[in-house]
């Protein structure tokens, strides 16, 4: 059986296991959906965002938070999911066992990335459905917007997946994996315009966040789901999609190289 076919086999196996773990279902799969619901309900009394002086225009809190939650979902499904998952597999002997079989490393990676892609598409689909039907968010009707959505999503999810594989090297044990990875992911969400509006952050913090990919995923998603009038609140006063593409591609390459250089079935001689 060739490497690709084995990778597909791994992806279905991995996805099945993913949905049997109640902690990943909540903290990775459902988390953005839960957060969108909480924010929409909690701030509903505050009224719309971006309303004109005469009371017209503006969008609901749910519509305002939706792009950030989509970006957070991409980050969680890729980085948090894989970094914790692989660190745990290294700790509990799963990788050691696989390393003793003729499974190619590439098939293992295809399996992980396939699992990320499948679960994250379901997650984002569910998020969009809930936004549309539970919170009455108007989704874009313009085809160009969905093209932007598709490439930002795909670039974002592949970047997140390879960064997750690379970060899985950091926790020293499987047990410490969540304690090491979740704070990194959580801080990024706070400074990248997921929970807090990016425009209200001080400029220096915006610049710090701009180094990391989440800020750009969120910005790309805002360009899809928010009215064009909101573009003026971005750094530079426009959606900046070229910047989104450049930063995500750079992180994708960094993640690929780091994964390739650091991945081992086991820590030899430890």
């Amino acid at each position: 059986m060739n490497t690709i076919a084995l990778g597909v086999t791994r992806a279905t196996y991995e996805t099945r296991v993913y949905f049997r773990q109640s902690d990943t279902i909540f903290f990775t799969f459902l988390f953005p959906i839960v957060m969108l619901s909480i924010f929409s309900v909690a701030f509903s009394a505050t009224g719309n965002v971006g309303t004109n002086a005469d009371g017209t225009g503006g969008i609901s809190q749910a519509a305002f938070y939706l792009p950030g939650m989509i970006a957070a979902g991409i980050l969680l499904s890729g980085v948090q999911n894989l970094a914790v998952d692989i660190a745990v597999e290294r700790g509990d002997g799963t990788l050691k066992r696989l390393g003793g079989t003729p499974l190619p490393v590439l098939s293992y990676f295809i399996g992980k990335i396939g699992q990320v892609l499948l679960t994250s598409m379901l997650q984002i689909g569910l998020l969009l459905l809930i936004a549309r039907f539970a919170f009455d968010v108007e989704l874009p009707t313009d085809g160009d917007k969905w093209v932007t959505f598709a490439w930002v999503y795909l670039l974002g999810i592949f970047t997140s997946a390879v960064l997750g594989i690379a970060l899985s090297r950091i926790p020293r044990t499987g047990k410490s994996a969540t304690a090491v990875i979740i704070p990194i992911v959580l801080v990024l969400q706070f400074i990248s315009g997921v929970y807090l509006a990016f425009s209200m952050l001080p400029e220096w913090l915006q610049n710090v966040a701009s180094v990391f990919p989440l800020k750009w995923m969120a910005q790309g998603m805002r360009s899809v789901f928010l009215p064009d009038s909101f573009a003026s609140q971005e750094q530079g006063g426009e959606w900046g999609l070229t910047g989104v593409a450049i930063v995500l591609v750079v992180w994708l390459v960094v993640g690929l190289i780091a994964s390739r250089l650091t991945f081992r079935w086991i820590r030899k001689d430890s």
């Binding site: 086999t9 099945r16 773990q21 050691k96 066992r97 003793g100 079989t101």
Partner: protein, 294 residues
Amino acid sequence: MTDSSAHVRVRDIRKTYGKFTALDGVSFDVARGETFALLGPNGAGKSTLIEILEGYRDRTGGDVSVLGVDPQHGGLEWKAKLGIVLQSTGESGNVTVHEQLTHFARFYPNPRDVDETIAAVGLTSKAKTRIKALSGGQRRRVDVALGVIGRPELLFLDEPTTGFDPEARHEFWELIRELKREGTTILLTTHYLDEAAQLGDRAGIISAGRLIEIGEINEIGGPAARVPIVRWRDSGGLHEERTSEPAHTVAALFARLGKEPDGLEVIRPSLESVYLGLVSAAAASATDLAKELA
């Protein structure tokens, strides 16, 4: 390859971790189709040695060939011919026994039948149970099943029956005998000397990183170590006599006492007592050496 019949060939292997020497010049061969038992106390270097042969660890010195390949450079084709049962496992096991074996079977070019393999390790009634819900002994059987699913030419078993009840251990022995009949070469480490005696063709004993004894399982320790012991009790206490003619000794004893001796036993030293004698002798000579050096 100089000897094409040897599946495992180890020459003067050494492994050091900083100042600690885990393996200090071990050499042996395991022939095709042979079952070789590697014995020794905890920390003697057995697992280090077996993990070097499996390709998990790099050696510091010496030459190793496993199925004609240096394990440090073993590729996927080489791995496809090996079966590895590691000493410890602790996977979360969110898959059923059947799912796990079906999945692993796909990694190999010519795997065993999944249901037959599950039956061979006695888990047919647990095939649809998630692995995490199994007992320790049952999970160990899953490990063994995963080790043999790829129809290996060479099977490594690192303490395979730890945590088995006696019945499960006997069933496991039957499974291994079946694999032997199929021609599988087996390298086994175990703490159970009866297990080594039941399954092994030859055994090697490792102590403090050195191979202190190697030989046929029923000859190990040499003829002297296997001389039977006649033991009895009288008013003077417990008596022991080592003799190669125990019947003669017992007859003479009966003639002398004129009655049945109390607590009469004729003991043929088991592999276990031979082993314990060898290991304690090795430890004593190491202590003497240390005293001389100090």
